[in-house]
Amino acid sequence: MTRITINGKEVEADPKKPLITACHEHAAQVPMYCYHPGLTPVGSCRICQVELQQGEIPPRIVVACRTPVAEGMVVNTETPQAHDARRQCLEFLLKNHPLDCPICDKAGECDLQDYSFSEGQAEGRSVEPRRKLEKRKNLGDVIVLDQERCILCSRCVRFFEDVTKKPQLTVSGLGSRSVISTFMDRPLTGNYQGNVADICPVGALTLSGFRFQARVWNLDKHLSTCGECSRGCSITVEVLRRKEVKRLRPHFNEEVNKWWMCDHGRFSYARLNAEDRLQGATLHQDGVPHPVDRETGIAAVVDMLRVHSGAYILISPWMTVEEGEQALAFCHALASPPRLLAPPTNDLKDDLLHTGEAAPNRRGLEGQGFQTQSRDDALSALAAAECAVLIGERITEILGVEALAELSNSIRLIIFDTHALQVSATNVCIGIPNAAERTGTWINVDGHAGRIAAAKPAPPGVASLTRSLEEIRAALAPVAGEVGS
C-alpha cells in the first residue's frame, strides 16, 4: 500500500491499480468514459483529468486512469483547473454528438448526460453543422450501432480483445470520420456480444431486442441470479410496470461473473414473461383438462398419494435450496429416496463463464442429499412406476413432453411446474412461480451462493412451491400416523 493525498485527505492506495480507482475508493468523483475496471486502460477520452502534484514539480493535469499510484502523490480532483480541463473535454465530445436524448435508449443511465450535468457543460459554442453518420447499423443480430452517438472510447473494441480474446471490432477511418466497425462489415459473433451494450458509456451500442422498448427509469431493478447455466451470474432483473421483464443485465460480482454475462442468459427473459402460464391447478382426467383452483388440486394430490404411497419422486435442478429442504421433508414423509433430475447440457461451454450445464442448482441440491438421476434412468423408472411426483420449474421440459406422453395411461402423474402438461395419462398439475417470481438461493458450480429475487408477482392462484408441498405433507401426516399404529 502506498500513501497518497486525495483532495487534502491522506489515504492508502493500491499501487497496482490506476489512480482513478484510488479516487473512486475515497469518494472523489472522477468521471470516466474509456476506462473500465475490467479492460486495459488506454487513456483516450481525457475526461478523467485531475490535478496532480508530485515532489517539486508544479501541479499539472493528468489522466487519472493511466497514471499509476506513487508514494507521496498529491491529487486534487476539484480545483478550477481540473474542472475546466474536464469541461473542455466534454465540449469536444459534444461537438458532434446528436443530442437526441429524448429518443436515445441510454437516456437516464448515460454517462454523457450525467457528466455534462455535473461538469456544467450546458451549451456548446460551435456553429458548424454536426457530422452525419449512419444511425441504425446492425452489427449482427444482437447489437445495433448509432455512429453519430459514439464517442470512440473504444471500450467495445477492448472488450473483444481483453475479455473474449477474439477481437472483432476496431476503430476505422480518420479524425471526425472515425467509426466503430467490424472487419468488412461482418456480423459480430459469439455468446458475449450483449456486454458491449452495457459497457458503452453512451447510447451508441444498443441491444436490438431492447431498442425503444422502455425508458430505463421506468424499470424496477431487482438483484438476482441467472438460472440458465450452473455459473449463476449475478444479474439485475429489470421489470416494466411490475409485469414484464424487459432486460437482464450483469451485476458486478468479483467471485462469479465480474462485469459480464453471456447472451444465452441475457436473452432468456422471454421465458420469464410467458403468457400461457398455469394458474391455480389443472386436473387431467381421461385426457381432458379441467382447470381448478389450487386448493382443489392439492386435495386431489393428497387423495392420489393416499392410494399410491410408494410414489416415484423427482425434482428439478431449478429448485432453490429452500425449496429443496421442503422437498427433502416431503420425500421423507413419503418414504421415498430424494432424487434430482440431471441438468440438461448444451454446447455453449467456454473458458469465460458458460459451464455448458444448463441449470443453476445441481450442486446445492446434491449437497442437501439428492441423488442425481440421468434423464434416461428417470424415464425408465417412470415407465415402471404407478405414480410419480415431478417437482420444480422446467421438469416436464427436461424430461420431454413427448417422452411423458408415451408413458402408459395407468400411471398417475403429480406435477408442480409453471406450465400445464397435456398428456393422456391422468395427472394433476399445480402451478408454481418461475425464477422471476420467487426468492431463494442457488449454489453455483464453484459453491458460491446466489440469491434470486421476486421481481414481479406470480400469476393469480399460484402459491409458492414450499407452501404447496407443506400443505400436502400436513394433510398426509395423520394417515401416515394411522398406518404406523
Binding site: C101, P102, F212, N218
Partner: protein, 174 residues
C-alpha cells in the same frame, strides 16, 4: 341552565303572506334587470391561450405523425400518474413514436407539468375543459382522442414560449 321561551307569533305573522309577497316582488324586479349569470352549456365559457385545459398532443406538419417521440418525460413529470406511454421503432428519420399514449383524464389535474417537461413541442394544454361520459374507461384518452393539428394549439404554443422564453427556445419539430 337557561330556558329560552319561543316568541309567540302574531296572527299576521302566522299567515306568512307579507313575506311571500316581499320575496315575489324581488323576483319580479330581477326579471327586468340585466342578467349576471351565464347560460351554460348553451353559452360556453370564454377561453383564451392562458386557459389551462386538458393536455393534447400536437401533430407534425404532415398531419399524420405525432410530434411526440415517446421520451416519457411527461410521464415522469406528471404528479398525478395520469400518463402511460409505450413507444416503438419507426421507419422514419425520427426513430421512435408512441404506440400507446394514454392520459387518464379523471386523474389529470390540469397542472401543465407535461407541457413544461416536453422537449419536442408535442404536448400542450388546450382550451378544452369539458369532461363527461358514462364510464371511467371512456375517459382514459388514447392517441386518437388526444391528437390535434398544431394550428389548433398555436395560440397556446405562442403564449407558452412568450412566458418561458427566458429558458428555452422553440425546438425544431421536423
Amino acid at each position: 341552565m337557561v330556558i329560552i321561551k319561543r316568541k309567540e307569533l302574531s296572527f299576521i305573522e302566522k299567515l306568512y303572506l307579507p313575506q311571500i309577497f316581499q320575496a315575489l316582488s324581488h323576483s319580479f324586479r330581477a326579471m327586468f334587470q340585466p342578467r349576471i349569470t351565464r347560460q351554460y352549456p348553451e353559452e360556453p365559457l370564454p377561453t383564451n391561450e392562458v386557459t389551462r385545459g386538458q393536455p393534447r398532443l400536437t401533430l407534425l406538419e404532415d398531419g399524420e405523425h405525432l410530434a411526440c417521440v415517446s421520451c416519457g418525460l411527461c410521464e415522469a413529470a406528471c404528479p398525478a400518474y395520469a400518463i402511460t406511454i409505450d413507444g416503438h421503432e419507426t421507419e422514419r428519420f425520427i426513430e421512435r413514436e408512441p404506440e400507446r399514449f394514454e392520459i387518464d383524464m379523471l386523474r389529470c389535474i390540469l397542472c401543465g407539468f407535461c407541457e413544461e417537461a416536453c422537449p419536442k413541442d408535442a404536448i400542450f394544454m388546450s382550451d378544452e375543459l369539458e369532461l363527461a361520459d358514462f364510464s371511467r374507461a371512456a375517459l382514459v384518452y388514447d392517441i386518437d382522442k388526444l391528437k390535434r393539428p398544431r394550428e389548433e394549439l398555436q395560440g397556446r404554443i405562442d403564449y407558452f414560449y412568450q412566458v418561458n422564453d427566458r429558458w428555452r427556445t422553440p425546438s425544431s419539430t421536423s
